[in-house]
């Protein structure tokens, strides 16, 4: 179980995480929204640190915060001129509330079953072999999970080629070469 100051950090980070993700979807300005998403991801990285998964925390910040969201921000800054939207996106309020409640309840049910067992057991098991974490991730990735790993890379490659094909028509192809 979590002890002492770790409990404090756990609840602090979890609250921050929920708070920032709510701000992410309610912010009027796209750049602000992206920034709240970054804050959410950093809080999640903090939670990984509490689990003694330093490698995952580092990769989370390096890949998502330092890579993916820089790209997000780049695109948002490029297309929007900083105007805020005051438009209501949808009027289906009742259906929205119903779906959100159902989703919330199912999450709660799932979490309350798993919480006491897996989450904390995984944490305790890792404490003895902290230094070997990175090695274990690597081994798993290249032995047991090698097929899904390669398939994921292939899917990404296809997506990149498709994106380039969509963005450039034949006329542009001539200009660039």
């Amino acid at each position: 179980m979590l002890k002492g100051i770790e409990v404090l950090f756990f609840y602090l980070l979890s609250l921050l995480c929920i708070f920032f993700s709510m701000l992410t979807i309610s912010a009027r300005n796209a750049v602000h929204s992206a920034l709240f998403l970054i804050s959410t991801l950093i809080s999640v990285a903090g939670l990984f640190l509490l689990l003694h998964a330093e490698f995952v925390a580092g990769v989370q910040i390096l890949v998502y915060v330092g890579g993916v969201l820089v790209l997000f921000l780049f695109v948002i800054m490029l297309v929007s001129s900083g105007q805020t939207t005051r438009r209501i996106f949808t009027n289906q309020f009742a259906i929205g509330v119903a779906v959100a409640t159902l989703l919330g309840l199912s999450f709660f049910a799932a979490i309350s079953q798993v919480q006491a067992t897996n989450y904390f057991r995984a944490r305790e098991a890792k404490q003895e072999v902290v230094t070997k974490n990175t090695e274990k991730v690597g081994l798993q990735l290249y032995t047991q999970a090698v097929l899904p790993f390669e398939i994921a890379s292939l899917v990404l490659l296809v997506a990149i080629v498709a994106a380039v094909r969509l963005a450039r028509d034949r006329k542009q192809e001539k200009i660039f070469n």
Binding site: E54, G58, G66, G67, L71, M77, T131, T134
Partner: protein, 341 residues
């Protein structure tokens, strides 16, 4: 676990390292201005104090007393936050950088780093990649065309060169088998034929060059200083900034230079190792500082020598040359590692 003397040791270490870092940054600025002066056949600032040594103090005071202007149409919260976002990660990186082996002071064995993380390398990269937000947001929140262009360029540049930077370090990780910076340095502590040190620069010179180029690009220095290109963008992302907020960007840039130099030293130049360091561990930090100074000198030298890249040249060089070469280098180094070990 957390006793008072450990806490005191931490606080003292943080205080000392922070003080040294800030002083170093102030004097690197002076060194840069004087060296650039000499390169351009003039003297540089030499009036305040002997050899201009009090110039950083005068500059600091000037920054403090300048008027702090916030543009009327700026996004005020982000405008104020941006310099902090740039500065804080830049200063935080120093906390995981080891600058020597253990030494004994007053009967206590003290390791010469603020904290040791088993994924230190990852922490440094994660923190340095956060710095770009300061620049990008400064550009966006200023609500000025020039600033926005600077911010956009900076984010595009970071994404392009981060890949090459990470790939160039993979070779070092293959050799050391660890992400711990102390382990990375210790792996370089022996000799070939009794006198050639086992530094990574000799086994993977291509990796070293890629790291150096990508690190200069990441720190937005000449010839990669497109985010602040003064010939096109006034002053780029910090056009609208004045007073201490401008100074914070300035400090962050030089802190990042110090970090990049120390990373190059740790990863490729054997960190704190040098002659007689085994007998006198106190020599470690001195060798380490000298090696950092070499890289800082290189930064300034390049600034005095090279013209700036054009934007399309920058992108082509990053994506079509640096990344393929870095990938090839990973394969090469992996083969080499099989041969040696």
């Amino acid at each position: 676990m957390l006793t008072t003397d450990i806490l005191i040791e931490w606080l003292v270490k943080i205080g000392v390292v922070f003080f040294i870092l800030m002083t170093a940054i102030a004097y690197v600025v002076l060194l840069e201005r004087r060296l650039l002066g000499f390169i351009q056949m003039r003297l540089g600032p030499n009036r305040v104090g002997p050899f201009g040594l009090l110039q950083p103090l005068a500059d600091g005071l000037k920054f403090l007393f300048k008027e702090d202007i916030v543009p009327l149409e700026a996004d005020k919260a982000l405008y104020v936050l941006a310099p902090m976002i740039a500065l804080v990660p830049a200063l935080m990186t120093i906390s995981v950088i080891p600058f020597g082996d253990k030494i004994v002071i007053l009967g206590r064995e003290i390791a010469l780093h603020i904290t040791s993380v088993n994924v230190g390398l990852l922490v440094v990269f994660a923190l340095t990649s956060l710095g770009v937000y300061g620049i990008a947001l400064a550009g966006w929140s200023s609500n000025s065309k020039y600033s926005l262009m600077g911010g956009l360029r900076s984010s595009a540049q970071l994404i392009s060169y981060e890949l090459a930077l990470s790939l160039s370090v993979v070779g070092v990780i293959i050799f050391s088998g660890s992400l711990d910076l102390v382990e990375v340095v210790k792996q370089q502590n022996s000799f070939w034929l009794g006198f050639i040190p086992k530094w990574n620069i000799f086994t993977q010179p291509i990796g070293f060059l890629i790291f150096l180029i990508a690190a200069i690009a990441e720190t937005n220095r000449v010839p990669f200083d497109l985010p602040e290109a003064e010939t096109e963008l006034v002053a780029g992302f910090h056009t609208e900034y004045s007073s201490m907020k401008f100074a914070m960007f300035f400090i962050a840039e030089y802190a990042n230079m110090v970090t990049a130099s120390s990373m190059a030293t740790l990863l490729f130049l054997g960190g704190w190792y040098g002659p007689f360091v085994d007998k006198f561990p106190l020599l470690g930090p001195i060798y380490f500082s000298l090696k950092i100074l070499f890289f800082l000198f290189l930064y300034i030298w390049l600034r005095g020598t090279l013209p700036r890249f054009r934007y399309d040249q920058l992108m082509r060089f990053g994506w079509k040359f640096l990344i393929p070469v870095a990938l090839a280098n990973v394969v090469l180094v992996a083969g080499l590692a099989l041969l040696i070990y």
